[in-house]
Symmetry: C2
Subunit: 360 residues, 2 copies
């Protein structure tokens, strides 16, 4: 039996990418086909290393070869990825900017942004994080970087800021440039200038994802960022209670305004329930129930899941080490799941965009 490249492509033409609703061959996701007797090897180029469907697609490819070509074939598949992007001339090295937003403060937006960034990096993606919450920057404390100052160098008379690297991601926080004890009396234009610098004047290098932690609500920073930079999409963080929901709806409303028009990647519900480590079967819905799902339905966006609060009686909430890094905690798994789902939504949005080359 002689297996041909043609046969392999025909077989894999029967495998559909479940999110993009087209087959892998049409989507140009198959490369490096090699055939040696009954041995068949090829690469599947996913749209993100964080693809939650990776195992499923790999199985479907293997089964297609065995079914359509030969049960005797020995199939070896290299699952890899090139993160997709939409045209992005203003920030050429950065493939996808993900805005993390909430209508109200205190819903854990910064916690979600930090753990999302780390979750994406865990899958192998190149990730940056901008903490643009001028009125309450939290990256310095969350990453144990209080008092840190990013290096600034002069290059042809222009200042270049070097992001700080920690836990495998690149970080910049507006908090690195302000005094934590002083009120920030900056008015709109000053804030806009400062935030723009975090994007334009920093040496981000090549990034698959740049996660941006926005301030709560809808203010000058939101307008500056959404109008000044190509945002792939916004992740909306909410807590389960009704009081927070009303605010979240307002925050979402801003992204959907025609002048802004940023796709909503989905809704994540944070602090969904509390689980005492000593009573792991008990879920305490301390902030209410069902709000995230309700918000997602109301705005027609995907509901990306719930992040529980899980703590033991001796644990304290402060840190310097985001909790996705503590793999024994069930919250870690919830954040990895979130990172995969967000990456998946970015790929879907990119594939739908008219100017998109889905794999480039």
């Amino acid at each position: 039996m002689i297996i041909t490249t043609e046969q392999v492509l025909t077989a894999l033409g029967h495998v559909e990418e479940p999110d993009l609703k087209k087959d892998l061959v049409t989507l140009n996701m198959i490369e490096d086909i090699r055939i040696d007797g009954h041995k068949v090897s090829f690469s599947v180029i996913l749209t993100t290393p964080a693809c939650p469907l990776k195992a499923m697609i790999e199985n479907a490819c293997r089964n297609a070869i065995l079914h359509f070509i030969s049960k005797e074939a020995e199939v070896s598949i290299n699952m890899t990825s090139r993160v997709t992007t939409q045209s992005n001339n203003s920030l050429p090295g950065i493939k996808n900017i993900i805005a993390v937003a909430s209508g109200k403060g205190g819903v854990g937006k910064s916690t979600v942004a930090a753990n999302l960034a780390l979750g994406l990096a865990k899958t192998g993606a190149k990730v940056g994080l901008i903490d643009a919450d001028i009125y309450g920057p939290s990256v310095p404390i969350m990453f144990g970087l209080e008092g840190a100052k990013p290096r600034a160098t002069q290059e042809n008379g222009k200042t270049r800021i070097e992001p700080i690297e920690k836990y495998g991601i690149k970080l910049l926080s507006i908090g690195f440039f302000t005094d934590p004890d002083q009120p920030v009396p900056w008015r709109g234009p000053m804030v806009s200038t400062a935030v723009k610098q975090l994007f334009n004047d920093a040496d981000w290098g090549e990034l698959d994802y740049l996660v941006v932690d926005l301030p709560p609500g809808t203010g000058d920073i939101h307008i500056t960022i959404t109008q000044g930079f190509p945002i792939a999409g916004a992740l909306i963080v909410t807590t389960p209670q009704n009081v927070a929901l009303a605010d979240a709806r307002k925050g979402v409303g801003m992204f959907m305004m025609p002048a802004i028009n940023v796709p909503i990647l989905g809704v994540i519900e944070n602090m969904s329930y509390f689980v005492p480590a000593e009573l792991p079967d008990n879920k305490y819905y301390i902030f209410g129930q069902g709000g995230g799902q309700k918000l997602a339905s109301q705005i027609g966006a995907p509901f990306l899941g719930q992040i529980p609060l899980v703590k033991g009686i001796t644990e304290s909430g402060d840190g310097g080490r985001p909790l996705i890094l503590d793999e024994a905690n069930p919250m870690s798994a919830a954040f990895i799941d979130l990172a995969e789902r967000v990456a998946q939504q970015v790929s879907i949005v990119n594939a739908r965009a008219p100017q998109s080359a889905h794999i480039q």
Copy 2:
């Protein structure tokens, strides 16, 4: 034995008001002395019906009569109050405006403001509540008043707004006048006008305390309210974590600025720990530990206590009925304690103010 009014005043002159550090007679707190043989009766006029020292002062008065005059005296004391105030010409019926503030959203500031107002009312005080959180008004949902519209009447060509009464307090929320689903794109001047109306154009009548729920952070509304109206003092709400603390310090900084100069009544730590109703001896410090005390020390303000989170596995966080009304819940007692301590601090601030007539 003949007891004289003089003797009673001399005896009570030995009783010190612990907060104000002067004796009750000097403070004009004794009235209506009546003597009938060995029966002595008088009124003690406290500075607030919410005085946490009420029982202690009553005991001290009784003991003073028994000790300095006669062990045979039959003492009957009427503990009453006239809430103190500082000169307040701009809002004549309103004795004390208490601002409830936080640097960061989501710390439960609105929950504290609502339960504080109800706690003050429970002691017999006349109380109003203004929800001035334009970007996230929560009184409509917390009091089960979604969709409610306050009555507005015309009086000599001027609009008068009638506060809504619920659970014994008078309420106005910026949320009664906005659409819960629409972003609020009001700029500074419009916001200021709207907020001023809640104070100036409403029929508050006589109030001992008007509690004002400010938006988080430090913005136009804070400047409008603190410069436009005589604020007795500000209560700062924080959660225990370090991330929130930095923001709270900034919020406090604003009140302490010379141009604003609002006394800090104290710091209350909310969501201090979680207690599962099924495991009442377990305290889960889910948001960290010690932040409230730390902030109070840093700014030299009284630490007014901790509000725990106590819930059963079947309870949900949403409502329409503030939880101080659920007397079986330990959180109710914590809020009553808070109301007493805040009222106490207002009395102390009033007594210290140069223009103050402590009892008027």
